[in-house]
Every structure is written in C-alpha cells, then in structure tokens.
C-alpha cells in the first residue's frame, strides 16, 4: 500500500474500527472463525518474518504453535494462573525453543533447512503423546480448557475472546512492524539477499538468524496459545504437518515479506477449506488446490502485493516510501 502516510493511517484506523465492531454484527460461530483469523494472522506473520524476510524456509512452525498451546493449557490447569498471564510465559518458552533450534539450523541452507524443520513438524504430534509427560499433556486425550469469562456483562465470552485476541494481535503487529522497519529489519533482509555482504557490513549473521528464529517461534507460540483459548482444547492431533504447511501457504498467498499479507493469508487458511467443502463434498482438497494454484499465478506477490500495485496505480505514486521493504518471492 504505497499511499501517503496520512491516508495509510486513516485506512488503518478504519480497518481497526471495523475489526472492533465485527463481533457485534456476526453470529456466534463466525465470531469464533474471526478469532481464528486473528490467531492465524499472528502465526503467518511469525512464519513470514523467518521465511519471507530472513529467507530461512521453515516448514516446522506448527511445533512452536503446539508448544504455545500446550504451555497455556498446562499452566491454566496446573498452576492456577489466569489465562492472560500464561501468554508471556508461552512467548518466552517458544522464543527460547526457537532460538535453540535456530542454532544448529545455522549450518543448513534452503531445502536442507526446510527438511530439518519438516522433521520437527512431523515428530511433534507423536512426541506430545509420550508417556513420560502424560501427567501434564493428557497423552492422546489432550487437555480441555475453560473458556475465559468476559470482564463486562455487556458482552458474551466469545465476543470477549475475540476482542482479547484483537488486542494481542495489535500488540504483536506493532512490535513486529517496528522490528522490521528499522536497523534490525534491514539486517534481517540483507542476510536473505546476500549473507556474505551482510557480514562484511558488520551484521553478526549467526546471531541475527538465531534471534529471528526465536522471534518467529515466539509469534507462532503466542498464536498457538490464543488458538488453545479459542478452541478450549489441545490434543496432539491438532498440530499436524498440515498446520505447519498452512502457515507457509498463508505467507505466500498473503504476500512474502509483507506485514498486511498475514491477514489475507489467515483468511485463506480459515475460510478456504470450508468454502471448498461447500463447493464439492467429494473432493474439497482438489478445490483447495485449484484455488491455491490460482492465487499463486494470479498474485505472484500475494494479496498484499496486488493491493500495493493497485494503490500505486490509483495514487500514481511511483517510489515506495523509504521505510518500506518491497514484497519478495521465495528463493530457496
């Protein structure tokens, strides 16, 4: 969206106002679906920071989503902490887990890193069923969670959960946007474009790549935590390989290396499978596949890239604003 900062700011506030009003105009199940959209948007943004901006292709973020979800579920059931207080703990655990996984991953490039993270995603559901930790994880059965109560009588608990997720989403996107627009963001992208030149410019590429891995895991973990609150249930089979792949699908459909793209990607993840199911009960995934291929061909820089292009045509403003990183394509 390359329009003047003022127009952008007004647009942003309009979208935010709509987002706040949304749960009061749609019915119960829709509120849940939009809660999941916010939740996936954080996860897609997390995957985009690592894969889109930093160029480390990650197929295993579902593992961090699971860690975030289980952290919240276990803490709520065993420690008596209120639901909101479990989020920072889930964030910290996922950051450390991501950072530590990022250290050995430093030696791996492109498809090799993709495979290592794929291995993580494949292993996660079964590791969660491990007997030794069944006391906390509930084994195959998983854990049931209580739905957080609304703090005001005027709204129901579904609406409150949506608004709570909206607050967390806004915080995470402000933090992520700040991280990407300045010194750190330029370094993260420089490493993607030319790692050797980046280190010659004084960037500690190993540290940056590990930290970026940690940040990505943290975003994904917070998304997992909110997802657990929204579904009120965690079990090993909620965190399949398909979930991990979905985040990358969200990144590509929304727009690689874009901030707003995360929301479009999240809408795709949440709404396209049931939509495909409506069109064909027999082959919903074939429909899903066709829609995915259509998106990739019709919008090579994602939905966000398309909007940016349209904005540029309408406002006739050629150069992107200086704090903006242009959308990119994945290059393994």
């Amino acid at each position: 969206m390359t329009v003047t900062p003022n127009v952008r700011l007004i647009g942003l506030f309009a979208v935010l106002a709509l987002a706040i009003a949304l749960p009061f105009f749609v019915g119960g199940y829709r509120v849940f679906q939009f809660t999941m959209v916010l939740d996936y948007a954080i996860a897609v943004f997390g995957a985009n920071i690592l894969t889109g901006y930093n160029g480390q292709i990650a197929l295993g973020n579902g593992a961090f989503y699971a860690i975030g979800a289980y952290t919240v579920a276990i803490l709520m059931n065993h420690s008596g902490l209120p639901y909101w207080a479990t989020l920072p703990i889930a964030a910290a655990i996922c950051f450390v887990a991501g950072f530590l996984f990022g250290l050995p991953a430093l030696r791996l490039e492109g498809p090799y890193l993709a495979l290592a993270t794929f291995a993580l995603a494949v292993a996660t559901p079964q590791l969660l069923k491990f007997h030794g930790i069944e006391k906390w994880t509930g084994g195959v059965q998983g854990i049931l969670l209580d739905k957080p109560d609304a703090p005001f009588a005027a709204i129901n608990s579904d609406q409150w959960l949506y608004l709570f997720c909206l607050i967390v989403t806004v915080i995470m996107f402000v933090l992520g946007y700040n991280l990407l627009r300045g010194r750190t963001g330029r370094a993260i992208v420089a490493i993607r474009d030319h790692p050797m030149a980046a280190s010659s410019m004084g960037i500690d590429t190993s540290l940056y790549k590990s930290l970026t891995f940690g940040v990505s895991a943290m975003f994904t973990g917070i998304a997992g935590a909110l997802g657990a609150l929204a579904t009120q249930f965690v079990s090993p089979d909620s965190f399949t390989l398909f979930l991990s792949i979905s985040f990358i699908v969200g990144v590509v459909v929304g727009g690689v290396a874009t901030v707003s793209g995360a929301f479009f990607g999240a809408i795709f993840i949440e709404f396209v499978p049931p939509f495909a199911d409506q069109i064909s009960k027999a082959a919903p995934w074939a429909i899903y596949g066709v829609l995915l291929i259509f998106c990739v061909y019709a919008m090579p820089t994602g939905v966000a890239g398309l909007f940016r292009l349209l904005g540029r045509m309408i406002f006739r403003r050629q150069p992107p604003s200086s704090s903006e990183i242009s959308p990119a394509r994945l290059t393994p």
Binding site: R183, I325, S326
Partner: protein
Amino acid sequence: MPDGITNNTGPLLAIRGISVRFGGIVALNDVSFEIERGQICGLIGPNGAGKTTLFNCLSRLYEPQTGTITFDGHELLSQPRHRMAGLGIGRTFQNLALFRTMTVRHNIMVGGHSTTRGGFIANALRLPIVAREEARLVERTNALIETLDLGAVADTPIQGLPFGTQKRVELARALACEPKLLLLDEPAGGLNSEEVEKLRALILMVRERYGLTVLLVEHHMNLVMRVSDKVVALDFGRKIADGTPEEVRNAPDVIRAYLGADA
C-alpha cells in the same frame, strides 16, 4: 596493544608473512607490506596472482595459514568477520554484492549497521535511542547519496539499475560504516574510459573528504599508476615489487610477469 586503543603512529595496515594455501595450491606465499595513513595503495598482478585472496583475508572471508595483519592497533585475525566494519574497514566487491531487493537508500543504510547499536528489543519497542540513531543514519545516508550522485535513484530497488550506478551504490555503502580503510576490489572493471576517469576523480575526492586510506585491487594499469601513492605487485602469490608507481613500473620482475620471461 590492547583492543580498542587506537595507535596513531606507524602504518594503518601492516601485513606480515601472510600465506594462504587451498589444498596443494599456494595462493599467497609469505606476503608482507604496509600502508601508511592517508595513502592510496594499488595492488596489481596478473590473473591468479593472489590479489583477491589477499583482499578476502583482510575482510576475514579466508583464513591465512601463517602471518599477521595489524590494523590500527588491532590484530585482525583474532576478530570475527562482522567486526571488520566496526573497526573501520569498508569494502566493495569485484562482482557486485548488493542487497538486490532493497532500495539504494536501504543498501547504504545497511552499510551503516556497525555505526548503530539498537538490537531486537530496542527496535521492537522503538525506544527513543533507536529513533535518534535512525535519524542520524538517515542524515548521513542522504549526504552519501548526494556525494555519489544517487539522488535520482535513491528509492529505487537495486535490481535493474545500470552497472555503473550499482558500483557507486557499493562505494556509498562501504563509506557508510565511516571507514578508516577502504578496500576497492576492481572498481574499474566493466567501466569505459570516460567512467574510469570519473572513478579516479571520485577516489581522490572521497579520500580527501573522509580522510581515508585506500587499498585498491585493479587490472586497469593506467588508473592504478595515476591514482596510487604506492603500488604493490604480486605474481603467483609472491610479492615481486613494492614502491612508488614509477619504481614498480620499471621493476624487472613486474615487466617479466606482465610481458613474459624474454621481455
């Protein structure tokens, strides 16, 4: 000399007994020379003489088997690669190594990475120090854009810019770390004679303006001889001459290396 203390006397760069071997091939064999502060030093030699290898030792891309490199009181070989820019060594690359999806402005700002400090947390929270650093960096970047005549393309992504323009962006990016020593790897490569003339003026101008010492690897003999205060010649990984352009031009070993044994 302990780290962090600047030695203002003596040469800025002292290379002593550097040898680099790749398997059985000796790329550099016991090479030693010094560069004084403010000098422009040309490094010449036929293809495969070891010029770029020496350059890559200076930016810590290659690890020499023997020898020491002292820069401004620091033992370079005990420092990691990403510390070079912070110590004051800026460089350009023989085959452009720009960040291709980023704009000219952002490329130059990445060059200034080592002059700023804000880390992940400070940036995510956009602490006041980050905004201050950013404002200073933007100011210096604008000055470099003006100096190197990049104003018209400042907000254009690198991809698709003409080769000569990209070379100027690389120079601006190298200058953004506020270097004491500027390493230029074949800056005249691919330029026509008019552009080479402009390049010569540019090198002299930035040396003057930023108080730089310059080490220049170059095939373009005319440029090297007319811009350098001192020339070092390599052949098959050995130093064969070291002196003023006049002395090196007339050294028998140099004539032999360039024109063959019978010349």
